[in-house]
C-alpha cells in the first residue's frame, strides 16, 4: 500500500515530534488527542519550527509546507483516512489498549499500527485487537526530528510485512530502525532513566546544584544536553511514569528518587511548566544564572 496519510495518536512531545518529522518528509499527518493540552499542539509545533528557522535549520517556505501538512482533531472518526497509525500516548496499559481497540475498529483493515511505547510490551498491547499481527513497536527518541535512530520491536504475533512497513516508515523519516528483543524499557529509555535518577539523587543529596551536574556531565561526555535537562524536556511526569512501570518489571533498581516524586507532586514538570531541575525561558531555552534565579 502506498502510505501517504499518517495518523498520530497523542499530541505530547513525542507525538508532535513524530508529526513534524513525518510532515517534513512529505506525509500528510492528522494529529489526534483527546486531552485538553492537545488543542495547542499545532501552536507548539509552529513555535518549535520558529526556533529552527531562527537557527537557519529550515526556511520560511519549508516551515509553511510542514505546517500545511499537519492537521489536529479530537474526532477519532477521521482515522478511517489513515494509511498508517502511530500510537504515541502516555504509557498506561488500559488507556492504550482502549485507544487501540477503538482505532482497530475505525481504521481500514490493511493499516499497520506502530506503537512508540517505551515501557509496554507490544504483545500485551496487541492482545485485544483484531490486527494483532499488524502492530509493531517503533520507539522514537526525542527530539524526534533530530535523532537518527529508532528502536524496533516485534510482538509475539507481529508479521514480517508489518515489520517491513515500519522499517520503511522509519527510513523515510531519516532513521535507522534497530531491531531489539521485546523487553520493557527497550534500550534508550532503560539506560536514560537510570542516568536521570542518579543525577537526581546527587541533587537531592546536595552533592551539587542541578546546573553543575549538567555542566560536568555534558562537558565530560560531549553531550548537548545533560540527563537533567533531558528529563525536563521529556517531562518529569513521563520520566516518573517510565520508572514506575520499569520498577514493576525490574524491581528496586528503578525506584524513583524522592525528588522526582516531589517535583511531580508540586507540578514542577520540566520545560512544559518552565521549571523542573532547571528553569526555562518563554522560548524553552535553559534560563542561565544571569537571567534569573533557578530555584523559584
Amino acid at each position: 500500500m502506498d502510505i501517504r496519510r499518517i495518523a498520530v495518536l497523542g499530541a505530547g512531545r513525542l507525538g508532535r515530534g513524530i508529526a513534524e518529522n513525518a510532515a517534513s518528509k512529505g506525509y500528510d499527518v492528522v494529529l489526534f488527542s483527546q486531552g485538553a493540552g492537545g488543542k495547542d499542539a499545532l501552536t507548539r509545533i509552529e513555535k518549535g519550527l520558529d526556533r529552527k528557522l531562527a537557527k537557519w535549520g529550515i526556511t520560511e517556505s519549508e516551515k509553511r509546507l510542514i505546517l500545511g501538512r499537519i492537521s489536529y482533531t479530537q474526532d477519532l472518526k477521521e482515522l478511517n483516512k489513515a494509511d498508517l497509525l502511530v500510537e504515541a500516548t502516555l504509557d498506561h496499559l488500559h488507556i492504550k489498549r482502549e485507544l487501540l481497540r477503538t482505532a482497530d475498529q475505525l481504521c481500514r483493515p490493511e493499516v499497520v499500527f506502530v506503537s512508540a511505547s517505551a515501557t509496554m510490551r507490544i504483545s500485551d498491547l496487541a492482545r485485544e485487537i483484531d490486527r494483532s499481527d499488524m502492530l509493531v513497536g517503533l520507539h522514537f527518541i526525542p527530539p524526534v526530528t533530530q535523532v537518527s535512530v529508532a528502536e524496533l520491536v516485534r510482538g509475539e504475533r507481529t508479521s514480517e510485512e508489518a515489520v517491513e512497513t515500519a522499517k520503511a516508515f522509519a527510513a523515510r523519516l531519516g532513521k535507522q530502525a534497530v531491531e531489539i528483543e521485546e523487553s520493557q524499557g527497550l534500550v534508550n529509555p532503560r539506560a536514560l532513566v537510570v542516568m536521570i535518577n542518579e543525577a537526581a539523587y546527587m541533587v537531592d543529596e546536595g552533592v551539587c546544584e542541578a546546573q553543575d551536574a549538567e555542566l560536568i556531565l555534558k562537558k565530560s561526555w560531549g553531550m548537548k544536553q545533560g540527563p537533567l535537562e533531558m528529563a525536563d524536556r521529556l517531562g518529569l511526569d513521563l520520566v516518573l511514569n517510565w520508572m514506575e512501570q520499569l520498577q514493576l518489571v525490574f524491581g528496586p533498581r528503578y525506584a524513583p528518587c524522592p525528588i522526582l516524586r516531589r517535583y511531580v507532586r508540586e507540578g514542577r514538570l520540566g520545560v512544559k511548566t518552565k521549571l523542573g531541575f532547571l528553569a526555562y525561558t518563554e522560548d524553552d531555552s535553559v534560563l542561565t544564572e544571569d537571567e534569573g534565579d533557578k530555584e523559584d
Partner: protein, 396 residues
C-alpha cells in the same frame, strides 16, 4: 532521428522531443508535484495550443507515461506512436570520476550511478529513478546519460584538487567536480560559432548566472577551471548560497550559535547569498530594492558583481588571456545593469560594450563593440539540445 530528452527531479519531470535533422523542438512539457493527488502536467507541441491538466501522479513512471500519452495524442501530440522515438537522453547531475563523457546506459552504468548518489543526494537518485522509469515503459529504446560534471572532467589536478590531506581525496574522492557543464559547453560552442572561429583557438570565460551560479574557464574548448567545487556551494555568491567563505568562519559560527551540521548546511545553502544579505533571493527584487534606495540590496548587488569580477580576473590569469566572455541563465541573460557594471570595472581588459545591444533579451547577441579587445556575448543556454546531440551521436 527523434530524441526524447528527460530531466527528472525528485518531484518533477521536464521533457523535450527533438527532430535531430534540424534540431527542431517538436514538443516540450513538464510534470510537477509528482507524488501528489494534484500533480500538474503542462504540454505544448510546436505550433499547437499549450495545454495543462491536474491529476494524481504518484511516481515517475506514471509521469513519463503521461508525457508520452500527450506526445502521441491525436489532437495535442506530434507523433503517432512511441515507436517514432529513437532514443532517450537523460540529464544526470553527477558523474563523479567515473564518467568523463556522455554514456550509453547499461546495467553497469546504473550500478555506478547508484553508487554516486552520495555525491549528489538531492539530484542523482531522482535522475536514476527517471532512467529506470523510462526503461520500464520503453525497454528496447537506447538510453544515454549526459552529465553536468562531464564537461569539467578536463580540469587538471592543480585546479581540481583541494590542499587538504591527499588521503581524503583517495578515500572519498573529495575534489572539484564543477556543475552546469552542459550549459558551459553549449554557450562556449555557440560563442565560437558567433565569432566564426574554431573553439580550439579560443580562451572563453562563461558565466552561468542563475539562482545557482558558476563560472568556467574554457581553453581550446576544454574546461580548465570552474567556480563550483565538490558541491554546488563553492564559488560565486548565489540566490541563497554563500559561495566562497573562509572555512574557519564556519567553525566559529557553529561554536558561537551552537549549530548542528544540518543547521550550518542549511544556513550556507538556503539562508545566505543575496537572501542572506538583502532578505530577497531574486535579482529582480534586488534591482527593485536599489531603485528604492535599499542599502542592503545595493550591497548585495555589489558583492555579487565583485565576486564575478574576481573570478574573471583569476581565470584570465589561469588561461593567460581571454578572447570572449559569455553570460547565460536567468541573471546572466536578464540583468543588463550587472553586465554594464562588470565590464566598466574591467578597463584593463580593453572591453567596451554597446549599451543598446546590451539591453536586448531572449536572443543570442554580441554586446561588445567591434573594437573591443575581448568579445562579450549574451547567449540563452540550451542544455537540452546538448543532451539531444550527445544522445544522437552515441546511438548513431
Amino acid at each position: 532521428m527523434n530524441i526524447f530528452v528527460l530531466n527528472c527531479g525528485s518531484s518533477s519531470v521536464k521533457y523535450k522531443l527533438y527532430a535531430m535533422e534540424n534540431e527542431q523542438v517538436l514538443a516540450e512539457g513538464r510534470v510537477e508535484r509528482i507524488g501528489q493527488e494534484n500533480a500538474i502536467i503542462t504540454h505544448q507541441s510546436t505550433g499547437k495550443e499549450k495545454i495543462s491538466k491536474t491529476m494524481p501522479i504518484l511516481e515517475h513512471t506514471v509521469a513519463i507515461q503521461e508525457s508520452l500519452n500527450l506526445l502521441t495524442h491525436a489532437e495535442h501530440g506530434v507523433i503517432k506512436s512511441v515507436n517514432e522515438i529513437d532514443a532517450i537522453g537523460h540529464r544526470v547531475v553527477h558523474g563523479g570520476e567515473s564518467f568523463s563523457d556522455s554514456v550509453l546506459i547499461n546495467e553497469r552504468t546504473k550500478e555506478i550511478l547508484d553508487s554516486l548518489a552520495e555525491l549528489a543526494p538531492l539530484h542523482n537518485p531522482a535522475n536514476v529513478t527517471g532512467i529506470r522509469a523510462a526503461e520500464k515503459i520503453m525497454p528496447k529504446k537506447p538510453q544515454v546519460a549526459v552529465f553536468d560534471t562531464a564537461f569539467h572532467s578536463t580540469i587538471p589536478p592543480h585546479a581540481h584538487l583541494y590542499a587538504i590531506p591527499y588521503s581524503v581525496y583517495q578515500r572519498y574522492k573529495v575534489r572539484r567536480y564543477g556543475f552546469h557543464g552542459t550549459s558551459h559547453k553549449y554557450v562556449s560552442q555557440r560563442a565560437s560559432e558567433m565569432m566564426g572561429r574554431d573553439i580550439a583557438d579560443l580562451k572563453i570565460i562563461s558565466c552561468h548566472l542563475g539562482n545557482g551560479a558558476s563560472i568556467a574557464a574554457i581553453d581550446g574548448g576544454k574546461s580548465v577551471d570552474t567556480s563550483m567545487g565538490f558541491t554546488p556551494l563553492e564559488g560565486l555568491m548565489m540566490g541563497t548560497r554563500s559561495g566562497d567563505i573562509d572555512p574557519g568562519a564556519i567553525f566559529y559560527i557553529m561554536k558561537k550559535e551552537g549549530l548542528s551540521l544540518h543547521e550550518i548546511d542549511s544556513m550556507l545553502n538556503k539562508h545566505s547569498g543575496l537572501f542572506g544579505i538583502a532578505g530577497v533571493s531574486d535579482m529582480r527584487d534586488i534591482e527593485k530594492g536599489i531603485e528604492e534606495d535599499d542599502r542592503l540590496c545595493k550591497v548585495a548587488f555589489d558583492i555579487y558583481e565583485y565576486r564575478i569580477r574576481k573570478y574573471i580576473g583569476s581565470y584570465v590569469a589561469a588561461m593567460n588571456g581571454v578572447d570572449a566572455i559569455v553570460f547565460t541563465a536567468g541573471i546572466g541573460e536578464n540583468t543588463p545593469a550587472m553586465r554594464s557594471k562588470l565590464v566598466s570595472n574591467l578597463p584593463y581588459l580593453g572591453i567596451s560594450i554597446d549599451e543598446d545591444q546590451n539591453k536586448k533579451r531572449g536572443e543570442d547577441v554580441e554586446i561588445s563593440t567591434p573594437d573591443s579587445k575581448v568579445k562579450v556575448f549574451v547567449i540563452p543556454t540550451d542544455e537540452e539540445v546538448v543532451i539531444a546531440r550527445d544522445t544522437a551521436k552515441i546511438v548513431s
